[in-house]
Each structure stands twice: as C-alpha cells, then as structure tokens.
C-alpha cells in the first residue's frame, strides 16, 4: 500500500500526533546523538550530572540553610535543597535546550522534512537521562541523612514525568518565540535566574506572604516542587497545588503547540 502525501498550504492548526509517533526513531536518534556528542566533549563526562545539583545543595545549605528557620516539610534542609536543586537543574537545562533547539538544528531543518515539534521535545528529553541519574543521587542522600523512605516514594517516577511535561510546556513556547524574535536569547538567562527566585527551590512556600500565595501558585514549578517533595516526605495527601501545576502546564502546552504550529510553516524561510 502506498502512502499518499498531500502538500498544500496548511490552514488548520491541528497537530498531527500520529506523525510525531511515526518519527519517533528520529527523535530517539537525535537525543542519542546529542548525549553522545556532549559526553565526548567533556573531560569528566557523566560526572557533571552529579556535580551540578550537589554543588547547588552545598551552596544552598551553607548560605540559606541557617536563615530559613521555618519548617521544610519535616526533612533536613540539605535534602530539601537537593530535591529542589535536582528538579531545578533539569528544568532550567531543559527549557534552555528547547529554546535553542530550532537554531541548533537549523541546518537539518533546511535540508530534510520531519515534524519540527520533535526538536523542542528533543530539547527537554536530552536532560532526562541526567535527571534520572540525579534522582538516584537523591536517594543516596536521603539514606545518608537517615530519612525514612515512605510508600509515597513510589509516585516519584510519575511526578518526575510531570516535571518533564511542565518543562516541555514552557520549552515549546520558548523555542517558537526564539525562532521569531531575536531577543529571546538575551532574555533567557535573565528569565531563568528570575524563575529560580520565584520558585520554592531554596525556600519553602510558607515564607511567601499569604496574600501573594494565590499568584505564586500560578508558577507551575511551585506545585510541581511541592508534589515532588511530598513523594519524599510522605506527609498527608498529595498537595492540591500539584494538580494546579498540571492544569497550568496543560493549558500552556496547548497554547504553545498551537503557536509553534503557526511558526513552523514559515520556519524554513525564517531561519
């Protein structure tokens, strides 16, 4: 049976998910290639994956640990900080990669067809391996600090997938915007820094004044980090804020993918 392809000016903004599935091997290849190239360039290779969150944990513990007196979800501050650092390291890398993905692969975009949405997906997937490795590190630190492992820990893989999804919902916007506006690459480092302070990575949510908390929860990382830490502490039920995050990420990714689709049709002419 011959497949029939019709090429015409596209009007709708429908995203062909089936097509992305058909191109999964390319997605896999791109991720694999990126990882290989990265580790061939570095001297200590995978070591960096562990070093970054560990260094962050140390810094946070030394500088913030003593100032933050409020409860950190009944876990030692070091564990609290490392769990934040692990999620943060992944998230910041992922949105940065996704934002640059179209530029990075423009030489392929201009030569070969494939659904371009694959590129921001590659951007957030490349770091997923590092993320998994740093989760293992987190487990070691948990044991080291004598934190009793709760049953809720079983939800950690699912919450981790949510972390990847939230990163994608932001990354897809940034990648499309970056293709159109030159400014994004200058704003990005600043945005990422700002985002760190606007998220409960080094401090617990409780330090945020109550009247602002409603707006604070609009940041999808807030509920995400609360959900992530709930897996480690196992206190009570999963916080509602986690579901708020998921809802925001769903809205963001629907909007982002639609916008990406609009940019996609002129991409080869723009880059």
């Amino acid at each position: 049976m011959l497949e029939e392809i019709i090429i015409k000016p596209r009007q709708g903004l429908r995203i062909d998910l089936k097509e992305i599935w058909q191109y999964r091997e390319l997605l896999y290849s791109l991720v694999l290639r990126d990882i290989k190239i990265r580790y061939k360039h570095t001297a200590i290779g995978v070591g960096w994956v562990l070093l970054q969150p560990l260094a962050m944990m140390l810094l946070f513990t030394l500088f913030f640990g003593r100032f933050i007196k409020t409860s950190t979800n009944e876990m030692p501050y070091a564990v609290f900080a490392l769990s934040g650092a692990v999620v943060w390291a992944y998230f910041s890398n992922a949105i940065n990669n996704a934002a640059n993905s179209l530029q990075q692969y423009k030489y392929i975009i201009s030569k070969v067809y494939f659904p371009r949405l694959i590129l921001p997906i590659v951007g957030v997937s490349v770091g997923a391996i590092d993320f998994a490795i740093s989760l293992a590190l987190l487990m070691v630190i948990l044991l080291f600090y004598g934190v009793t492992l709760k049953l809720t820990l079983l939800a950690l893989p699912l919450v981790s997938i949510a972390v990847i999804f939230v990163s994608f919902s932001v990354g897809v916007w940034l990648s499309a915007l970056n293709a159109i506006y030159y400014d994004i690459r200058y704003i990005l480092p600043f945005l990422i820094q700002l985002w760190l302070f606007a998220s409960p990575v080094v401090y617990p949510v409780s330090v945020v004044p109550e009247k602002w908390q409603m707006y604070y929860y609009l940041n999808p990382l807030v509920g995400l980090l609360e959900g992530f830490r709930w897996c480690l502490s196992g206190v009570g039920a999963i916080p509602n804020s986690f579901w708020v995050s998921i809802g925001i990420a769903i809205l963001l990714s629907i909007g982002g993918v639609t916008y990406f689709r609009r940019v996609e049709s002129t991409l080869a002419d723009l880059l």
Binding site: I5, I7, P9, Y181, Y182, A268
Partner: protein, 413 residues
Amino acid sequence: MSGESIIEVVGVGKKYIKRNSQSYPTAREQLMKLFRSPWKLLDSPRKEEFWALKDISFEVKPGEVVGIIGRNGSGKSTLLKILSRITEPTEGYVKLRGRVSSLLEVGTGFHPELTGRENIFFNGTILGMSRKEIQSKFDAIVNFADIGDFLDIPLKYYSNGMAMRLAFAVAAHLDPDILIIDEVLAVGDLEFQNKCLNKAEEISSNSGRTILFVSHQMSQIRRLCHKVIWIDQGHIRAIGGTAEVIGEYEKFFLSTDRDLSSAQRLNQKAAFRQWYIQDSGQKVHVLSHFDSVKVVFALEVYKLLHQPLIDIALKNAAGQILWGHRTQHSSLSIGSYELEFLFAFLPLSRGMYSWHISVYDLEGKVDVWEGLPMMQVELPSYQHHSDQWSGIMNLPYKLELRQLSEIDGYLLR
C-alpha cells in the same frame, strides 16, 4: 496503476516576502510600534512580495526519471524544497504517492565527533530510514563507502573524500518510492561522480524508482533522465522529452551567432559577432578541463575605429564580476577581427557564466554585448560540497598532511 501518476503538482506557487528593514523582527520593534501608533500594528509593514514559483503543474509517472533544469535563481531549488516538504507552497498542491526521500545535500547531520558507524545511523534516520533498515543494509553501506578500518573512528579524522563517500553510501541505500536529488552529484572528484552516476542509473533501471533530479550538467541529465522540465523565472518554460527540452535550452543559452541586423540597421561602427572557446579545433561554449583555454571574441568593424578600447568582464550567474580587463589598440580598419585570450587555466566553480564585452572609441560607445550564449563550466569540483562554503573559485590542488613532530613530547621539553 500504470496510468496513475506518482507525483502530481497542480498550480503550485510560492511567494516570498522581502521585508524592507530586516527579516528578523525584534520584540522591541514590535513593542515600539505598539507604543507609538497602535493602530498601525494592523497595517502590514512596507514589504516587497515576489513569486519564486508560479503556476507550476506537472505529473510524473512511476519509474520515470525527471530532470529539472534552469539557471540559478530560476526557482528550481524552491520547487525541490516544496516537494521535499521543507517549505510550504503558498498556493496549489502536490500529491506524492509513496515514500519520499530527498537528498538536498549529502551527509546532512554528519558530526565530526561521532564515528563513521554512529554517523551512518544518524544520517540514515534523518533521511527517513528506520534503525532496523539501516542495520540490515549496514554492511552494504560500509562496502560501498570503502572506508575500511575507519568505521569506528570519529569523522573528524576522515579525509574529505572519505567523508563524501560515506555520505553518498548512506544516501545510495535509501529505498524510497520517490527520490529527489539536488546537484549532489556535482561534488567530489570525477571518478567518484562517475560511481555515483552509475549507482543512480542502477537504481532507476533496476528497481523502477521514480527520481527527480536537478543538475546544471546537461551531460548528467542526458545520461539519466527520460523527461526534462525547464524552469525559468519561476515558470515552466518547457517540459517534455530529454533531447527535445535540452535542445531548446541549449539553443537559448548556447545559440552561437549573434543577430547583427540590428547593429547594421543602427549604423554602428562595429559589432561583436560571436564568442567561443577554441577547443581542439572546435568552437564550444562549455569549459570542461583545467588545461589552457583559448577564448575568442569575433568583432566586425564596419567603419574605421580610432584608438578603440575593448573592455571585457567575466560575470557569474549572480552578475558578480569575477575578472575585468581593458585593452587599447591604435586603430582598427574595416574588416573582421578575432580577439583571442589564452588563459593558462580558468579555475571556476560549476555553473553558467557570461562574457560581457564592449568597445569604445574616441567618440564614445560603439558596441556593448552581453556575450550570449552563456559559458557553461563543467569542471571537476575541488570545492567544499556545501554552497555556503564553496566560494567562487575552483582551485585544483594536491593535498598532503605531514606530521613533523609529536606535539606532547615537544611541549614537555
């Protein structure tokens, strides 16, 4: 099935917009505009539209090998980009029945840090093969590329020729129903080109593959194609049998004598009649070797010219002057003349060129001629395979890499 076309192109057009200031709008610009004159945001900025392609319609039957010819900037590449789905048409549609692979470049996605093996897999998946497919063809690819022990060595240690062979080997083992090829055979040395051409012939005759093939080299088109489409200024100028269309194309660009009736009618003092390359007794307009080249310009002088100046410029297809020259002579009496340049060699990239020639005397302009037909350069390429880096000169070379010392030992001392 036999009656059905495998490629159907109907009324395809592609409009590009040239923005006046720059093509990359900045967020600041947009914000400033919003701030200064919000109502104007709805206006489209002053921009220039142009149609790179217009009203393109044709059909290709399964198993046909179709050549696409035309000058640079005629719209050929845009058509290929639409057929390969890299850019969308502005109007019209294309129906492709079957798996399509396009080779707009060989070695897309090759990375110097990765080994030959890793690059084969990556390049293969980019071109649309599954990993399983690559696995099953792996040995054939490695054999064709003839890279021997280098398979597990990073690409950066490969010679240019080896990398090219590897890239083409992957491409040659694609198994699509429709294969779109853009000038990729124009790279590498003659022997390699021949190997590629043979492979392309084999693919088309043995497996009945449908091939769309763009080239500047009429010899390649003649050898491979059943049918030719000539695109000129975004429109189809001619479509039909290979011999017929190439004949028309060459008549247009390679027609010999200039029609001098208008020069005589205008009572000019002199006019250029023709130019040609003197090649083993024949008058040709194709440059195909790196040996010395005799370029001859024929001038008819109808009235005595005092102290004539003859200016010559060699221009490429983009209109850039590659070489300019002026000669002065004491006087030319009535008669036919030939002005002959003997160049040691002309190191030009492949493509179409023109010799612009003009003659002035003391009273001013006598004749200006844009030197038709164009000169076609079909030299072996010694340039980078990517257009972006190939430059305008095609310098033949012998290359050698010598290691003079071992660097670590040297540094330690």
